[in-house]
């Protein structure tokens, strides 16, 4: 059979997000592949330059839809670095709780999204139901389900509501009790193992070649290369947690590592609530009206560990009320572009959606 051209996306049930991969397929084998992004391109980097520092808060969570809080975190962190302010201790711990909850949310999304390429829709049904519970918690804390705008420069927007601590901890205790069920459904399922194991490899040299970070990197390199460990931000150096690592990176390893990261995140949330001091939750990073803040001149790169890897903003301030330039490093940029181009050829057509899914590619953050 000769080469056939296929469009994998943008309208395709296996494609998460609005992106397209152009494939040339021979028989069942992918010969050439390239990502065609831009369907979600909104011109964020330009829009940010037209808004004030505080006004941008409404804009930034929308960069990555599946995991919005990382955007607020990098933005706030970068501004605090430029303005050289110290935020209250309590805010650090609240931020950690929020960040870990959103990480769990993103991991559950991607584990549920494993359903469509492998056909195990029951996993998705269960996962999404639990995601809804976490989003309800977010709604109680911040007032919104997806875009929270809760982590602001200078701390967090407001104090945690009364009794939310027990509500969160109760939910996660209950969730932990149910986690073996998920493990049995997904990872002990022989059909899923047949699909995932020894399939879609990511060797170490590829990690360095592409610049893959996050779970992809840790599953291949075998070292805890996690921004939370390597350059601790917030108070990640105070809490005790482990980063799952592996040296054999197939689709199964990368998926099961997400499961263990959820466990570690729950551990961090518990510790953060234990260690959380009382006190203020925010300070002003500049004097005056929040909408007329000016920041000193300076530029910095601020990065956090997202569910997919190192997520960063390069922020330039020229001393005015608006950012001069903000550049976004989407965590899945390397594997999304160069990875698809170089390493998706060679997999079977059946595995192309699985490739896209288990490499942890989030289209909105690539497109911006």
């Amino acid at each position: 059979m000769s080469e056939v051209k296929l469009f994998f996306g943008p309208q395709h049930p296996g494609m998460h997000g609005n992106a397209s991969v152009h494939l040339y397929v021979e028989g069942d084998l992918v010969k050439k592949a390239r990502l065609v992004p831009g369907m979600l391109h909104r011109g964020f980097e330009k829009s940010m330059e037209n808004h004030t520092w505080m006004g941008n808060l409404a804009l930034i969570p929308r960069v990555c839809v599946a995991e919005p809080d990382i955007n607020e975190m990098v933005f706030a962190q970068g501004l605090e670095t430029i303005a050289e302010v110290e935020i209250p201790e309590r805010a650090h711990y609240i931020r950690m709780v929020i960040m870990e909850m959103t990480r769990i949310l993103a991991h559950m999304m991607s584990l549920g999204a494993l359903a469509s390429p492998t056909g195990l829709y029951t996993a998705n049904q269960w996962m999404q139901a639990d995601r809804n519970n976490i989003q309800d918690l977010f709604e109680a804390i911040t007032g919104h389900r997806i875009y929270h705008m809760y982590i602001v420069p200078g701390g967090v927007r407001k104090e945690l509501p009364q009794g939310i601590e027990t509500r969160i901890l109760d939910f996660f205790t209950e969730f932990e009790r149910r986690m073996p069920e998920y493990h049995a459904l997904i990872f002990e399922n022989p059909t899923i193992q047949a699909r995932l194991k020894d399939n879609i490899m990511l060797p170490e040299f590829v990690v360095w070649e592409l610049g893959v970070t996050g779970i992809g990197m840790r599953s291949a390199v075998g070292k805890p290369y996690d921004v939370r460990k390597v350059t601790p931000y917030a108070r990640y150096d105070k809490v005790d947690f482990e980063v799952p690592v592996a040296t054999y990176s197939d689709a199964y390893t990368r998926s099961v590592m997400k499961y263990y990261e959820i466990k570690e995140s729950i551990r961090i949330i518990r510790q953060a609530f234990d260690m959380m001091p009382q006190g203020k939750v925010n300070v002003k990073i500049a004097p005056g009206n929040a909408l007329k803040w000016t920041l000193p001149k300076g530029q910095t790169y601020s990065a956090v560990e997202s569910a997919r890897g190192e997520f960063g903003y390069y922020i330039v301030s020229d001393g005015k009320t608006q950012p001069y330039r903000i550049a976004v490093r989407g965590a899945s940029f390397p594997q999304g572009f160069l990875g698809v181009e170089r390493y998706m050829p060679g997999v079977r057509l059946d595995d192309a959606p699985l490739w896209y899914d288990t490499m942890g590619i989030c289209t909105p953050e690539i497109d911006r």
């Binding site: 992004p37 831009g38 391109h41 011109g43 980097e45 330009k46 829009s47 037209n50 670095t81 360095w208 070649e209 592409l210 610049g211 970070t213 070292k223 290369y225 390597v230 350059t231 300076g298 530029q299 910095t300 790169y301 990065a303 190192e310 960063g312 390069y314 330039v316 001069y324 330039r325 550049a327 490093r329 940029f333 390397p334 572009f337 160069l338 497109d367």
Partner: protein, 179 residues
Amino acid sequence: MTNSMNNVKAPLLAQIGALFPEVRLKKDRDREITFEVQPRDLHQVLTYLKNAGWRQLSMISCVDWIEDGQFELVYNVFDWTQGLRVLLSMKIDRGEAQAMTIINLFDGAMYYEREIHEFFGVVFLGNEDALKSLFLERWDDIPPLRKDFDSRAYSDKKYVKRFYDPVYGPQGGASFERS
């Protein structure tokens, strides 16, 4: 934390100072050092850094300093073992925006360069792929992230806005009549 990083930073600063006299230290933050490099030094500095442990290119970004008539390209490399980030800032002329590609050093740079070409119009010599459009389809104006491109004016010109004629009162609400 700053103290713990000093034993990493000091040898780096000494080495860079000895090897590349034209490279200037621009900013020294906690875990982030910014150097200013000349275009002719860039490849040597990046090669040195890559061999010294900065194996990952985090990103390349571009800043349009329109008043100085310059583009600033920022190469961002990270060392995962020591946790130290190095930013190399390189100024190029805005009128004839050209830079040498670094895809022979970091393969991952390919698409960052393509993106910068699309958004700023910087031509990367040696990376022919970068001349194709990536995010935008049939773009018909100057590269959008340049400072002299006005996003709002372009939007007003290109897209039909919804005209609101609110009628306040019992029948109130915005008019949703189609034009």
